[in-house]
């Protein structure tokens, strides 16, 4: 339970950090909050030869309201997001989910950019940012690019990040008026990784018809599972119990891919996903109607 030896760098500028990543490539790992990386190193599942600790680089922790959304810096601690009035106002789905992520001591250290870059399929932030159609700014010595959440998460702990890139910030669009949101999950113990979960956002038109919908599942696939067909099925519909059931059925039979492990069977996860999906759509619908 002790990490293997590594070379440690603590750059104080982004340029230095990027130059180190460019030099060491796949041998290097970025250390942000370390709340996933360090346990993996303690177990020696991860044995990076080089750690680039970005905690001493100033100005990477912020939550700023902007036209159309909120900009979140990579080193923003979960505790900051959990207590930020700006996050509460502009990204209530993220704000209200933060207390469900791990424990207070982990949220002191854990970061926005770290959770996204780690891309655990059971983690909430990858699913929430996919649901909210967020995009991420990836920076390397060669330049920068913006990648949408939907194109960023590729598989188990696998993202669009190149070894010489750092996810430096995210932009989370604000939901339009008459929108509602929900995150539903089941855990063996509160704050544990979810056995299954789903986030939903809905936008209604003035007559109450569903204009836009996104359903994204966690812990039932190797990355956040966007149920595109089920989401499309809801669009243009009055959200009757039948419509909600039909979308739930489609999403949870055809658009998720749960696995078996010691905590739950694939069948049980699918069963949970189905119940949770229905609840998530219902709650998002209520909120979109201003009822919650």
């Amino acid at each position: 339970m002790k990490p293997a030896p590594f070379a440690y760098y603590a750059p104080t500028t982004l340029d230095e950090a990027l130059s180190l990543l460019s030099e060491h490539g796949y041998d290097a790992k970025v250390l942000a909050g370390g709340q996933s990386l360090v346990p993996m190193m303690n177990f020696r599942i991860a044995q990076p030869a080089v750690l680039v600790d970005i905690n001493n680089i100033p100005d990477l922790a912020y939550i700023n309201a902007e036209e159309g959304g909120v900009r979140v810096g990579a080193l923003t601690r979960h505790h900051q997001s959990e207590t930020s009035p700006v996050m509460a106002r502009h990204a209530p789905l993220i704000y209200s989910t933060m207390p469900k992520i791990a424990y207070p001591q982990v949220r002191t250290r854990g970061t926005f950019g770290g959770s996204l870059s780690h891309a655990d399929p059971s983690a909430e932030l990858p699913t929430l940012t996919t649901t909210l159609d967020a995009k991420f700014r990836l920076v390397s010595q060669c330049g920068e690019r913006w990648v949408s959440a939907r194109e960023f998460f590729l598989g188990l702990y696998t993202t669009a990040l190149e070894p010489d890139e750092i996810l430096i910030e995210g932009f989370v669009p604000e939901l339009p008026p008459r929108s509602g949101w929900s995150l539903q999950e089941v855990n063996r113990r509160k704050h544990d990784f979810a056995l299954a979960g789903v986030a939903a956002v809905l936008t209604l038109d003035e007559s109450g018809i569903c204009q836009d919908a996104r359903l994204v599942f966690l812990s039932v696939g190797d990355h956040p599972m966007y149920a595109e067909r089920a989401s499309n099925l809801l669009k243009g519909q009055a959200l009757t119990p039948e419509a909600i059931r039909a979308a739930t059925e489609l999403a949870t039979t055809e658009e998720i891919d749960p696995g078996d492990d010691i905590h739950a069977t694939a069948d049980f996860r699918r069963h949970l996903a189905k119940t949770l999906c229905q609840r998530a759509i219902e709650q998002a619908h209520q909120r979109a109607q201003g009822k919650q």
Binding site: M1, G34, V38, M41, V50, Y103, Q105, T108
Partner: protein, 162 residues
């Protein structure tokens, strides 16, 4: 910007005392506290961030000392259970745990005391539900949580009275 698998000079303040040691980058903060500066009040349980026994305060905020490298504390202030009070001068939180029977074997206690001390600074008058959330990252396997929750609520009362 020094890079090496060789030892690094670390200077860190723990419980108000400045310590300087040459350590390997891979040394966990928990091991630094226990083995290098011999403050064995910080306990080590799971070493992967689940049990909370190793929780200490960094610049007043609760962190898992098993999920940080000691070199990351360069220039920061760490508070361990030894820094909260002394046997003949318990802190209000320690005194409340004593009075409310908030510990049995004591293994989880240092992590809970540090966590609760920080918690009551930001939330001096918590509800029982908030207390349970605050200690959700600390596992106790003997006393059960009821007396621990009682102790935290008592500590809040004591701090407000004083």
């Amino acid at each position: 910007m020094e890079a090496t698998t060789q030892k690094i000079e670390l200077s860190v303040t723990v419980n108000g005392t400045r310590y300087e040691r040459a350590i390997e980058p891979r040394m966990l903060l928990s091991d630094f506290l226990r083995h290098e500066i011999e403050l064995t009040g910080t306990h080590v349980g799971c070493e992967h961030g689940v049990c909370g026994a190793c929780s200490v305060l960094m610049d007043g905020e609760p962190v898992r000392s098993c999920l940080m490298f000691a070199v990351q504390t360069q220039g920061h202030e760490i508070t361990t259970v030894e820094g909260l009070g002394a046997v003949d001068a318990l802190s209000p939180v320690q005194q409340a745990f004593h009075e409310a029977h908030g510990l049995q074997c004591g293994f989880c206690t240092p992590g809970i005391l540090t966590t609760v001390t920080a918690f009551l600074e930001t939330n001096p008058n918590p509800s029982e539900e908030e207390v349970r959330e605050a200690i959700s990252g600390n596992l106790c396997r003997c006393t059960g949580y009821q007396h621990i929750v009682d102790a935290v609520l008592l500590a809040a009362k004591k701090k407000q009275a004083s």
